[in-house]
Amino acid sequence: MMRHWSIGGVIGAAVLAVLVLVAIAAPWLAPGDPLDIVGRPLLPPFTDPRFPLGTDQLGRNVFAGLVHGTRVSLLVGLAAAAAAIGVGILVGTVAGFLGGWTDEGLMRVTEAFQTIPTFLLALAMVSALGASTVNVVLAIAISSWPATARLVRAEILSLKSRDYVDAARLAGMSRLGIAFREVLPGAVQPVLALIGITVGVAILVESSLAFLGLSDPNQVSWGGMVANGRAVLRTAPYLVAIPGAAVAVAVLSVSLVGDAMGRRLLVSRER
C-alpha cells in the first residue's frame, strides 16, 4: 500500500502528525493562557530561553501563541470540514438518489451557495452571528459544503442504476435504506480526495477571518497573530512571519495528504 504514497504524501502525513501532537500537547508544551502578558514586549526570537520565539507588542509569548494556535486552527479546520462534508454527503445522496423535483430543488440551492465565494459568505455570517469559535466553524461549514454535495450526487447518479442496486430494491429495502447503505459507501470514496482541499480551505478561511478580527478574542489564533504583528512589520517581522509560516505549513501538509489519498484512490479504481 505504501508504494502508492508519493514522497509528498509521506512528508505531508509526517508534518500533519507533528501538528496534531503539538495541538494535543499544547497545555504541557506551553502551560497557562497564551494570551497572558508574561515578559518584556517585542523580545526577538532566540534571545531568551523562556520565550524561544520571542514576545509580541504586549509581551505575550509567541511560542505559546503558536502552539495553542495549532489547536484552534486544526480544531476549526477539521470540525468545519467534517460538518461541510457531512452536509454535502447528505444533500448529494438525497438529491442524486431521489432525483426529480427533490434533485432539482436541492441542486438549485447548492448552486445558489456556489455563486457566493466561500470566504465572503463566511465573512458575512461571522459578522452577523458574532465572533465565536462555534460560529466560525458553522460559517465555514455552511460556505463550503456544495463541492462535496455535487461530487456525491454525480457518483450516486452513476451508481444507482447498477445491478446490485436493483437487487437490493427487489429484496424490498426502503429507498433511503438503499441510498445510504448500498449506494453511498461506493460513492464516498472520491470524497476522501476532497477532504484535503476542504480542510485546507477551512484552515485558511479561519486564519483569514481571524486576521480581520473575526475570531474568538479569548483564544489565540494564527490569523489573529499575523494581524496583530502587521502593525510592527518593519520593526518585528518575526511576529508576522512565524504564524504566517505556520498557516502555510498546516495547509500544505493537509493538501499533500489529501492529494496522496486522491492519487491512491485513482490507482485503486483503475485496477
Binding site: L58, G130, A131, A231
Partner: protein
Amino acid sequence: MATEFSLSRRHLLLSGTAITAATLLGRQRLAGAQPARDGGTLIAAADTEPRNLNPAIVASNGVFYVASKVIEPLAEMDYETGLRPLLAIDWQGSDDGLTFTVQLRPNVTWHDGTPFTSADVAFSAMEVWKPLQNLGRVVFRNLESVDTPDDGTAVFNFSEPTPPQLIENAMPALTSVIPKHLYEGTDIAENPHNQDLVGTGPFRFGEHRPGEFYRLHRNEDYWAETLPYLDEIVFRVFPDRGAIAAGLETGDIQVSAFSAVPLVELERMAAIDGVSVIPGGYEGITYQITLEINHRRPELADPRVRQAIRQALDPSFIVDTVFLGYATAATGPVPQTATDFYTDDVQMYETDTDAAEALLDEAGYPRGDDGNRFSLRLRPAPWFAQTRATGDYVRQALRGIGIDVEIVSADPAGHINAVYTEHDFDLAVGSPVYRNDPAISTTILFQGGLPAGVPFANQYGYDNPQMNEIISSASETIDTAERVGLYNDFQRLASEDLPIINLVEFTFITVARDDVQNIANNPRWATSSWADTWISD
C-alpha cells in the same frame, strides 16, 4: 486661556521620549531661520473617510481633520492667548449669562463669492449646532434664539443662565459656520454640500475620490490676505498604517497625524534623516482610556467592587507597555492637559491586589471552588489598537483577583449599539475625548437619566443624585471661579464613587517630513485650518 501652559507641560510629561523632544527643538530653530514661503502641495495621510464631512453636524476629529481647512469656527485654540479670533473678532457674555454677543469679522466671503454675515451664524446655531450636532445638542440646549442687529453682530439668547466660559470653550470645536444660502430650506442632514463643502476657510474643497484622496485648493480670497501659504492640500487615504510609515520614509507623504504611524515605529522613524516625530499639538483633544462599568450588574453596583477593580489595575503598565510611554496615568475624568479645570485633590488609588481581594471578600464575593468570584463580559472599543490591548490587559489583571473576564469583540457599529443602546456588557474599554470644558464632553459620562441610545454618554446605569446635583449647578454657574470649583467637586466625587475608571490619558503624535513648517503650533493643530503651514526648500 484654556491651554496656556499646556505646551511646556506636555513636553515635560513626554520628557521620557527624549528623541522626539530633541527633534522638535531642532525644527523650531529651522523654522525661525527662514521667512515663510508661498506655494507647494502638502500631502497628508488620512485613514478614515467620513460619510458626512460637515463639521457643523459631525463634530469629530476624523471630520475636522479634512473639513477644518474649508469650514471655520468662530475662534481657534491658541497656546499664548487661549483663543484666537477666526470668524469672530470679539465676544462678550452678559453678567446674567442669558446673552452672549459676538462681533464678526468684516469682509469675509464664502468660497462661492457670497458675503458671510451674522445670518449665517444665526442659521448655523439654530438649525444645525443646537438640533443636529453631536456636541452642540448639549451645550446649546438652552439657546432660544440668535438676534442679528446688523450683518456683523450675532447675539445668542439663552433661556437659562449659560456660563460664558462654556461658550468660549465651545468655540473651537462646536461653532463651525456653514452658509445659510446653500442650506436654508433643504434637508440639512442630506444636503450635498455635506460632502462638497463650501466654507470661508483658507482652502476650497476640490474633489474627493473615495478610497483615494481628498484634494483642497488654496482660497485666493481668504480674509487673512497673506494666507494660506500652500497651493494645495491632498489627503491621501491609507487604510493600512504600515504604508503610511513607508510613505513618510520615501517622501510620498509629508504629514501623518493622529498617531497614524504605530507607536512602536516612532523610534525608528525619528532616527530617519528628514523625518521628525512631533508629540505636541493635540492638548486640546486629549483622549483617555476608561473602563466603563455596567451598574445594572449587582456586583458592579457595589462601590467596593469597583474600587477593587481599580486597585487590581496598574495604569502605569498600560502607559509603558500599551502606549510605550506616550501616555500618562489618569487621576480622574478631567485630563492634566486641561490646566484650568484639573485638580489632583482627588481620591488616589495604588495598585494593590491584596487590598482588592480583601474588598471583594468583604463585599460578599469570595473565590469559588474554581478560584473565581464571578464572571464578567468585557467589550473593548475596537477603534484603537490600544483599546483592544487594554482589554487584554484588564482580562489578565482581573483574573488575578478572581474575576473571570470573557472578551467580546464587535465592529465599531456593533460595539456602539451593544454598549450605548442595548447595554449588553458588564465592562467596556472606552476612549472618551476631553473637549476643552467638562460640560462639553465629560459630565455627560456621569449624568443620570439619559435615554438609551445616546452614544459616548452615561449608559452605565449610574444615577447618583449628588453627582447630578453638582453637574446641574455647574451648568448654570456664571462665575468662572465658582464654576471651576464645582468641577473640582465633580472630579473628587467621580474618583470616590468610580462610576467609570479613568485609566490613562494620551494625546496623538504627528510624524512629518522636516520641510513642513509650523506644525503643532496650536493645541488642536491637526484639526485646525493649516493656513500658516508652509513647505521650505
